[in-house]
Symmetry: C2
Subunit: 262 residues, 2 copies
Amino acid sequence: MSDLTPKSFFGSIFRLITAKPAIPPSLEGNTHLKTILERRSVRKFKPDPIGPDHWAAILEAGRVAPSTVNLQTWSFAEFTAPQWREFFGQPLPFEAARGIVILADTHRMNRAVPALPRAPLCEYTIGVMNASLAAMNMTCAAEALGIASVMLSETGRTGFYDAAHLKTKLELPDGVVPIMSIVFGWPDVGAQAMPPKLPLEAVTFTGAYKETPAAMLDAWYDQMQAGYLVSQKGQSFESKIKYYARRIDDAERDLWGMVLPE
Amino acid sequence: MSDLTPKSFFGSIFRLITAKPAIPPSLEGNTHLKTILERRSVRKFKPDPIGPDHWAAILEAGRVAPSTVNLQTWSFAEFTAPQWREFFGQPLPFEAARGIVILADTHRMNRAVPALPRAPLCEYTIGVMNASLAAMNMTCAAEALGIASVMLSETGRTGFYDAAHLKTKLELPDGVVPIMSIVFGWPDVGAQAMPPKLPLEAVTFTGAYKETPAAMLDAWYDQMQAGYLVSQKGQSFESKIKYYARRIDDAERDLWGMVLPE
């Protein structure tokens, strides 16, 4: 939104580098809480595989996630790196060890509970919501094991931006919509700066809705620009937004066709 | 789907009582993993409040959750029990200590990044997905602190089934859709049976989509029926499904109006 001046650039970089999740001092000894709050998306992995026990525990976290009326409206297309390469004809993103395409799946629910009337947008909401809960629970279980991950919703034919492509590729019946992929591996990174997060007061309120002050949005935007300039080597935040903008009409049309047929 | 015979009733009860999350023996010493896999939705809480540090840590887990292009498409309407009672005119469900209405919020994103073209169904997908990731991350952080919770998407005017009511009540601008409430408190329960979960092979596959065998769906349905008969005192699973079926047309119309205007 705002233009990045040298002053706002350096200020933004400083804020990016110094940002940390807020852990109340009284709870600093809780290593489990720390693991959750300090989780970071990781895009560089060691070549080591993820063994069957670790993988089973991660999938189990998806299986036992909470869901609306316990309807479990999800499916997980799961792959080792060689399986992914063979199936998709390209390597797992970021040379990760394992990958899952997360599917919002109300097809199974409609088979199991035929008394539920059809309501496409409610079903889609339930599907996306529950599948996302499962995705985050798997990610948290992975963190507990020291395994890092990144969720991909938008590039490399891995998420809802490529729903139609994945529907064909995975032979998905109606009612099954890919929403993201998660790739997992043993992390091969040092300390990483947090992506710029809005302050808590920008996203919380009590009672009626509170608009986020424009200054907070501008500061966030400046940090996104500065962060891309420093870390993405030549790709600006604007160019990423333009990339989405170019593709969003197709994605929107594909999703309508899959979610709200005829 | 199937009728519950005495044999399938007792078989289902046995399966319900003996079901446990599968934790590989090699990972049993990982208490963090155990906490995640053994998490259960809790509907009975001690009267003790949740203090400000614990609450701040839970909200922080929402703030630092992952999101599509770091767009943080969520807002959290958060209440103590007295604030909830005053605002909604009824007590927090299950006499919990704190509650959050989870909002899929693309209104803020559209203010912050006006270059993103409008695409209502893509935006809604991003909103529901990211807000659900934040919801699960908050729930996991709460578990790390010993604080239990339950997600409510459908009753007591707490979730997307009551989106239009909550839009009015919370004065939500277009682009902000309530998807669920989570209520939190210190658990006041002993060991709880797991709700019936489909086996891992019913929800995972590698390569092309695999239909869940009908026998697995029937076994799940029998367990849902048996579980309701035993635990819900007079309310059957069928009656719950009928309750949803009666309300789903209204919910569908409300959601269309909020998500896909004109």
